[in-house]
Symmetry: D3
Subunit: 244 residues, 6 copies
């Protein structure tokens, strides 16, 4: 067995730090740090819904994702400068939005839209899964704000389950949890998993650009991912103790 950066065990997360209520203007927000990956997640609420939900009585949750140019090395080019949002960004923000929607009770939310912005301040692998894990907290905080302000019923269970995401990679034939950038660039297979507190799958995206993988590999990946998700949800619960 190869040694991981910082001597981590193969099923061990990087250090996770949560700074709750990081942005004063947002209804709910966190700065989440997972290793050297840092993402500001901020949820805002509007009293309107997209056209396809008009007069349905149901709400909507959407997400946007972006990286600051200096978050990466070498420096990235701003998408506003390019004049268009790139394919990778689209893919990630659609993933974040779908994942969040899977645990929100849209009827109890009512005709509101919660938009969660995930802005990567510093990138070191796993930005999309850190975004989902942080976005869930920002979303939960924003729903608490709605409850406190009386905009939704304070006793309703708007969030149906916890939600977190992590990645697993195949490196030298071994499944490793929560890859940092230097590990990720060597991985043969990269699997992102979004799961709920009750251990069910919300999204699973596995990619084998280097080498196709077997059903046995797949089972390993899912076990390790499930372990990482449980650890992340434990950390989330410290900030949401009685809240959902």
């Amino acid at each position: 067995m190869k040694m991981r950066t910082n001597g981590r065990a193969k099923d061990q997360l990087r250090k996770v730090i949560i700074h709750p209520n990081y942005i004063k203007h947002a209804a709910g927000s966190v700065l989440i740090e997972i290793g050297d990956t840092r993402v500001i997640c901020a949820a805002n609420v509007e009293n309107k819904v997209p056209p396809f939900l008009a007069n349905s009585g149901k709400g909507w949750v959407t997400a946007e994702y972006s990286m600051l140019p200096s978050a990466t090395n070498p420096r990235g080019v701003r998408e506003a400068t390019r004049g268009r949002i790139g394919g990778r960004t689209h893919e990630i923000q659609r993933l974040i939005g779908r994942s969040l929607r899977s645990v929100v009770d849209m009827e109890k939310l009512g005709e509101k839209t919660i938009s969660v912005d995930c802005d990567v301040i510093q990138a070191d692998g796993g930005t999309r899964t850190a975004s989902i894990t942080g976005a869930f907290l920002a979303l939960a905080f924003s729903i608490n704000s709605l409850k406190k302000s009386g905009a939704v019923d304070g006793k309703a269970r708007l969030i149906k389950d916890h939600l977190a995401a992590t990645s697993v990679g195949l490196i030298n034939g071994e499944a490793w949890l929560d890859l940092d950038y230097s590990e990720d660039s060597k991985a043969e297979v990269d699997l992102n998993v979004v799961m709920t507190g009750s251990g069910k799958f919300v999204e699973i995206q596995g990619t084998a650009e280097k080498e196709p993988f077997s059903l046995e590999d797949m089972r390993d990946f899912l076990d390790i991912a499930a372990k990482g998700i449980r650890d992340l949800i434990e950390i989330q619960k410290e900030f949401l103790r009685n809240d959902i």
Copy 2:
């Protein structure tokens, strides 16, 4: 057990029709019909590679995906009119490109780029998986052209394995193969799988916007998907008998 449209068995593909060499200007092409879904897949070759591969001796395979406006009901808006490629399109064309790259030996291809265009003429569910299945054929035909013209070694094994894709959906608690549009719009879970001829995974994308799914569901999905992929590869082989 619910009946499927057209009385299909739950692990049965829709009717598949392949029209090889459909476009005269392309190096390789097919019109693939899977049920009422019809996609023109056309592969073209250029003697250059993206900047990150310059002087590497390696080739590249990329893909573009689009739908004609009249392919859907209601009619879609052209992305050229919108002035930007949408998130869904980006996601799909990145998926097609990654999938194709997983079975091509880039060193044997040499410094060439094969671009595969997947243009959906008529959509009835499963356009991305039909695109991958058809794109693999167009790619294989284009490599045969390269061999015939002497541009690559006629005996080299540029394609490492067969490749096809299909979808599985969870409908009323049951896993169904290769959903058409009317089935897809009722599915609780939607899983797209890209596999090789040797039964290994290249891509797996599962989404549960309606209801998270369990590990048991997952195993069912993978079994049925694998059966569908085997059937598709049998059909491909009629057109590629001695070719890869």
Copy 3:
């Protein structure tokens, strides 16, 4: 006299094949083949009109035109990728729209918009004139659908006359009908003509980038074009026998 490709007479059309009702989602559609040029023309109807016709009681007909990247050799770049519709595309789709509008009785159509998409699947010269000839059929089929569904009066004469288009080129001092790509690239003058079943002009566009032409040339062009249009309208009539 020089020989034409395939031994055609100078006033002879290429082979024309019409596949009616090619797209199931459209109100009316054809795949039209003129020699190796193939265009899918699909008409869709919306119950609204552009702002300048609001509450006028009149309808509108518009067209869009595009080429698949693999329709040409070398492969073209998608306009959606460029982020803008090119000048040539604008020019052609405006021409198609104006031509179709000249034969529709907008008051009898009422406040509806018929949009005709012309998507070139394979290009071998004359794509704009093939588009007009095919678009007229798609339009006529869509109007028949409207009549069948009762959305317009089944006996009203919404289409005032037949419509087709063709090109004439001056090659080595001789006027040739319906140029294919190899002929077109040698032409000194290129004239596109849109005419009605009663032999009147709807559009005429002549361009002499290589050498200005005389009034005598012009008369020749118009005679030959008129002959080609009559032949095209004969073919259209097989598909529209009692319909307009």
Copy 4:
């Protein structure tokens, strides 16, 4: 016979005023006024050619066309604000460029590009034909500058013939020359003609959005247009006496 605005005869141009060398930075320029239509035409020269002409020894001529927002009533929206050049603009600037190229000897010009900007300051009908007529003068002046500076051979005949453009419209069954805006908006047919000093056609664009027209109409249009072109070229010659 109906009376025209200002009592013009049916084959009479509006008043034409030429202000030569209107822009000091351009190699050649005019402000052309045709009635109340005013266009600044300015030609600039670069010592390079588009990629398809590299190392061909040949030059290129291109044109751009735009309207100031306040040139029309109601005020137009800037295309820069819309972020894209509209279809009409594309169509017109392609027409101007093709027309100018038809009278320039590209081999004698050598590997240079002359760009002619046509900016409409005030619009009252006929802006595209006024642009061509003015652009020809700006082009001719810029070639004189090239000759004076020794950049091309002072005795070479770079311009093969004079060039001007005008419009003819069918109003109440009568062909009228050089329509102003109020006339143009009533015309049943609108024909733009670009001709050379020797009476040959360079471009002809006839459009019958209201009512298809006959071959007899066509002949009338061409006669009247030819008369208008001759008058315009007489005016141009006052500014180019010994120059081409």
Copy 5:
């Protein structure tokens, strides 16, 4: 002391020529020439306001600024071709709009928007200040039109004060008024000042890209600028004698 181009004194404006009512479709317009800098300023009025002023009873004044490509040497690229408005253009048109708004009584104007287009026909330094000086006249003329038509109270004082703008530059340690292009490119400091008829500041923008400047320099700049503004307002008054 260095000599200026054309022997101007250091606090002397270039020659100023005003052509009032230059554009027939605009509610008010001028062609302003300041030396070789020429700008068409045209004001148009709409009976609506931006959303943030809806139902406020107040009006709005806005401005757009652009340069024709041939206004500069070398020729500029059209912003419509680039598909976006550049930073410098944005900065200037925001400056013009703010300046004009400072002297208009928005309540007396009522819910109307006056848009002033400043289109630079020929540039030779000072285009933004010439635009403001000319735009003020176009605005004043358009308000006179509103008064004549009865759209606003003919006796109301909608314009609170005169307005003009000029630049001062530091060249070889000396402050010079109204720099032309050749002077501007040598200036160490460039200060643009917008002032009212009563000698108050509306905008002041000083930039020292080459060398930071002292408080003493600043005082000099302001004295000379104030002198230039007084001269410009004298010229404006010839065209607005009894009007504001």
Copy 6:
């Protein structure tokens, strides 16, 4: 005299906190907090220069500015989503770039480009001046990195002077330093000043949208601004003690 928010004196800055080296991938960076305004400033270096400096031996400094959507209340729309950078953004990033360039010795820097990204994480007034003050630190840190790595001469004085920026507003006739958002929205005049450590002006931008201001006001503004700049530079010096 009115009381300010938090009881500040009229010439007192908000609390300033500097987090040096905030972003690990950048050559130099800070998170600067001025009151509730927080900006990440990150400098990156490339070994190339814009075309106009090629082979000049000189370097270049440029800046980009952006706000996260959740930095403001209500949430802003991403410029990447709009597909274009807004006028205000352009204006600010041009200001930051010009200001930084005024204190860098470009010949000593050599043919390198330093790009400074200023990303506003939370906005509460004065984001552009906080950006300049923080960007100067990030720039200075990046130059120290260049010295340490030997990429530039370790003893050369690349930074010619300190640089900071602040704002002054006129509120109820009184000049106040460093306005927060609630104060800014009431200000009659808004003046931004960029100054060096030796007390010279680099940029001065004063705007009186509500009411023009007198020369006396101007003198007051400049005194108070100079005091604020001195205080900011004292704070900067704690982080740059022996460094420039």
